[in-house]
């Protein structure tokens, strides 16, 4: 039993220490979301997109989604751009958004004029913080993109582990039971009241 207690304590502790950067990112960015109007002045201002280059280019876009994505990836590689991206055709335009925490880029191809244009989004430290919060998913190639998604999963599972081990450790401290029940019950009652009235 003592071993289980120690295992839970150490798991609770080391997961917390490992994920400190993500705890800080999610806490600070959530504060920015919750008080968006006060932080507007510290976000990037118009014009958000700054031109990098524009050139003539011949590009045939496959009609299927997978083919379009593969062609967009080749286009990016040919122009020295890499990283996670999303490609979408809208009428006579192809928009490719290249994700990056610091320097997100946008490549636009106009099928009518056959012009390819690249722009970079202006960013402040707050914009980077928000991007760190919002980035999720495994649908991008590359080991590091997958690693980020894995850490997001790890953070979510760690949160559930902190709750489970935290409840166990609380229960072992008999002196804290009454106040603990009040805190737990108070939180649950608050949530239920809000769900019923929002």
């Amino acid at each position: 039993m003592k071993n289980a207690n120690l295992l839970f304590r150490r798991t609770h502790l080391y997961l917390g220490l490992l994920l400190i950067p993500w705890l800080l990112v999610y806490a600070l960015s959530t504060f920015v979301f919750n008080h968006g109007e006060h932080f507007r002045a510290y976000r990037a201002a118009e014009p958000l997109w700054l031109p990098l280059w524009e050139k003539d280019y011949a590009f045939e876009a496959p009609s299927d989604v997978a083919g379009l994505r593969a062609a967009a990836q080749r286009l990016l590689k040919d122009h020295g751009l890499s990283g996670a991206f999303a490609a979408r055709r809208q009428g006579q335009r192809l928009n490719i958004n290249v994700q990056n925490f610091w320097h997100p880029r946008r490549v636009t191809y106009d099928f009518t004029t056959k012009k390819l244009r690249a722009e970079e989004r202006r960013s402040t430290a707050l914009d980077v913080l928000v991007r760190l919060h919002e980035r999720t998913g495994y649908n991008q190639g590359g080991l590091l993109n997958k690693l980020w998604a894995f850490v997001v999963d790890l953070f979510c599972v760690a949160t559930l582990v902190w709750i489970g081990t935290g409840l166990y450790l609380w229960w072992k401290l008999s002196a804290t039971r009454t106040w603990g029940w009040l805190a737990l019950g108070g939180g649950l009652a608050t949530l239920l009241a809000l769900l019923a009235t929002l």
């Binding site: 490992l18 993500w22 806490a27 959530t30 919750n34 495994y138 999963d153 929002l198």
Partner: protein
């Protein structure tokens, strides 16, 4: 008679760490589960076929109301919702001069979308299909103090409390780690690994 012992700083920090966590447990479960939903969006959408978060038509009905020339889109939206017995937190898309206003009523567990065709004096009322992932995501994204409703402001306050909780758990966790001498070396290595991975990803992707 001995005076009651003064609780040490360590004990106060431990208790605040614990009770804050117990109070915020329901929110942390919501954020953890919705984080998994967001991180596996395609997979979760696949479980629900093509019906994930779709709005379904409930009814269309005539609606006649007179609004003054200076009525804002928000005021019109609030009146439409009140007339439908759907008052509560909402967003409006469109301007008062446009022939169509889209009002989204975001309750905690349901969402209605009301399209007001002003020139046709007509309402289209739709409801979002209910599913656990959609509800989790809606609760995850709910924040701010802009909505003029007490419950919405309390939710905004709890979001702030969760922010305070996360920051306090980091600081108090570091404090408690330092108090456990046998855990210092391993803890330092683990924390450095976390910062190294974070730094690598921040610099490269």
């Amino acid at each position: 008679m001995n005076p009651a012992p003064t609780p040490s700083a360590s004990k106060i920090i431990r208790r605040v760490h614990l009770y804050l966590a117990l109070f915020l447990t329901p929110w942390m479960i919501i954020y953890a589960l919705s984080g998994l939903v967001l991180n596996h969006g395609d997979l979760v959408r696949g479980w629900y076929g093509g019906k994930f978060s779709d709005f379904e038509k409930l009814e269309e009905r005539p609606y006649t109301a007179a609004f003054s020339a200076d009525a804002t889109a928000r005021l019109i939206g609030a009146q439409v919702l009140a007339d439908l017995d759907l008052a509560g937190t909402f967003q409006v898309q469109g301007t008062p001069t446009q022939p169509k206003l889209v009002i989204t009523r975001n309750a905690a567990l349901t969402a209605h979308r009301i399209t007001y065709f002003r020139t046709e004096n007509r309402l289209l009322i739709e409801k979002q299909s209910l599913s656990t992932p959609v509800i989790l995501n809606r609760l995850h994204f709910r924040h701010g103090y802009e909505q003029p409703f007490v419950s919405a402001k309390i939710w905004g306050f709890v979001v702030d409390l969760a922010v305070v909780g996360l920051l306090f758990w980091v600081v108090s966790g570091i404090w408690m780690w330092w108090e456990i001498k046998p855990a210092r070396t391993t803890g330092a290595v683990v924390a450095l690994c976390g910062f190294a991975v974070f730094g690598l990803l921040l610099a490269t992707i």
